[in-house]
Amino acid sequence: MRQSVVRFAVALLLAGSFPSLSRAQIYELDAMHTSVNFRVSHLGLSWTFGRFNDVSGAFRIDPADAGKCAFQVAIKTESIDTGNTKRDDHLRSPDFFNVKQFPLLSFKSTAVEAVKEGYAVTGDLTMHGATKAVKFVLVGGRKAEFPKGIRRTGYTTELVLKRSEFEMDKMKEAIGDDVHITISFEGIEKAH
């Protein structure tokens, strides 16, 4: 229920932000085909992999004018999953994500440019209460109708964040500061 409220609010916000653009397409993230995965160094020896299981959001694609594209994503930090309950509990604690204080990790684009592979997106990432500008390239943009009547598109990107820049700076000796993130998502076009 809460999820759908958040999704609806996000979609509405995006739609309301660009009411006059008829050629733009608004998509809602398809949670089933969206994944936010990350890996972080453990003792400098290996990578620990994890993901967030509750991701929602929406985006707007304007094929004619990339500057009018927009992306917005919200991730529930509580949904972190590294395949180990005890570790997940610790990652939820104030030593890391502090999910009781910062239940959402969010991204909102501020500028989008067309590039050869797709879109170069700049935006504000809010994590652990701190907001920083990040930039990444979204690769993809192919479209498909699946199942029949449901139009969708998808993108993938990779980026590296320093968690300490978001004031998540505990235990950097053991657990790497650089967090490698891979995001892949599909969106379902909303009917006009």
Binding site: G44, K86, S93, G129, K172, E173, A174
Partner: protein, 344 residues
């Protein structure tokens, strides 16, 4: 892919023996040796500052001894935080930062005001006001009281929030008033030591409950109060330790609240840790009051230690159970101790 782990910023500025060493495994607990070193350095700092401010005068004015305690405790906490690499951030967005940047300065202002205005009604009005504000400040902006995860997501209704904050404020006020009264009645260094002991126990229990980085704050608190008690012990004029009791009680309460609401501290453990120092009252009423002051002092510490030790043992058992539940069975795999020893 080759991992190029960066050296943490600032780590090189400290002697290697004092660098914060954390072991990461199923959970992460700061190195006990480092904690002990930080405790000793911090307590010594507090003792020196308090003693220096009290020393030149046979009977220092109350405001000067209060100032000495406040400066001593502030510098002791700064030393401990530095050694344990507790890095507060401004603006204070998380509980630890709000404790260090909002609550402690507020407490210092209240205690300084109390030093100038001796009327108990005014002093306790300010303290009660602060007691009522501690939990709301620590939980400010959290999922309990705000819709930070989206509209309608706050966990407590306004009515529930008021009720919870009232109960928490009442609990803190009760413990604070009773321990302050005991301190004034006995003029003993044991009362703040009992609360410092509880702070240490609370910090360790909360750390074992999944909020490891709070241990540094708990050690800093306990060390600051212990240093003050030490200075009062060696001082000729034995200044009043009411200020140290106030700091330790508010600190203990803050540890328990953040452990409960941001970590996974068990409710029963939280209650036991908060009220354990009140057992220091028992020697005043029971047959123990036949003992001399030293005997009563020792019995106060022992009585306080018992519930803390029980809670700590239970928390440790749970920690080990949780860790081994997910630990590999092969003997070639690292144990919890291996993680604790990593980097030493």
């Amino acid at each position: 892919m080759v991992n190029q782990q960066r050296k943490p910023r600032g780590a090189g500025k400290l002697p290697s023996s004092l660098r914060c060493r954390f072991a990461e495994g199923e959970n992460a607990i700061p190195d006990p040796v480092l904690l002990a070193q930080a405790f000793a350095a911090s307590a010594l700092t507090a003792a020196i500052v308090v003693w220096l401010l009290a020393w030149p005068w046979n009977a220092p004015h109350r405001w000067r001894s209060t100032l000495g305690y406040l400066l001593g405790m502030a510098s002791a906490m700064a030393v401990a935080c530095r050694l344990l690499m507790v890095r507060p951030h401004w603006p204070p967005r998380v509980d630890q930062d709000r404790f260090l940047f909002v609550l402690l300065p507020s407490l210092f202002c209240v205690e300084m005001t109390a030093a100038f205005h001796m009327r108990p009604l005014l002093i306790w009005s300010l303290r009660l006001l602060l007691a009522g504000g501690v939990a709301p400040i620590l939980l400010y902006g959290s999922v309990y009281v705000s819709d930070s995860a989206g509209p309608g997501t706050r966990r407590w209704t306004p009515y529930q929030a008021v009720l919870v904050f009232f109960m928490l404020g009442l609990a803190l006020s009760t413990v604070w008033r009773l321990l302050s009264k005991l301190q004034r009645q006995t003029q003993s260094q044991v009362v703040p030591l009992a609360v410092a002991l509880s702070c240490l126990g609370a910090a360790a229990t909360v750390a074992l409950s999944g909020y490891a980085s709070i241990a540094g704050v708990g050690v800093a608190l306990a060390a600051a109060v212990t240093g003050c008690a030490l200075a009062a012990r060696i001082s000729r004029n034995s200044p009043d330790l009411d200020t140290a009791v106030s700091l330790s009680v508010v600190g203990l309460f803050a540890l328990v609240v953040v452990g409960r609401y941001f970590g996974n501290l068990d409710l029963g453990h939280a209650v036991a840790l908060l009220f354990a120092p009140l057992l220091s009252w028992l020697p005043e009423w029971s047959p123990l009051n036949r003992f001399g002051s030293t005997g009563r002092g020792v019995s106060r510490l022992v009585l306080t230690t018992v519930p803390i030790a029980v809670v700590l043992a239970l928390a440790y058992q749970q920690f080990v159970r949780d860790s081994t539940r997910f630990a590999p069975t092969s003997s070639s795999e690292p144990s919890l101790q291996d993680y604790l020893d990593f980097g030493k």
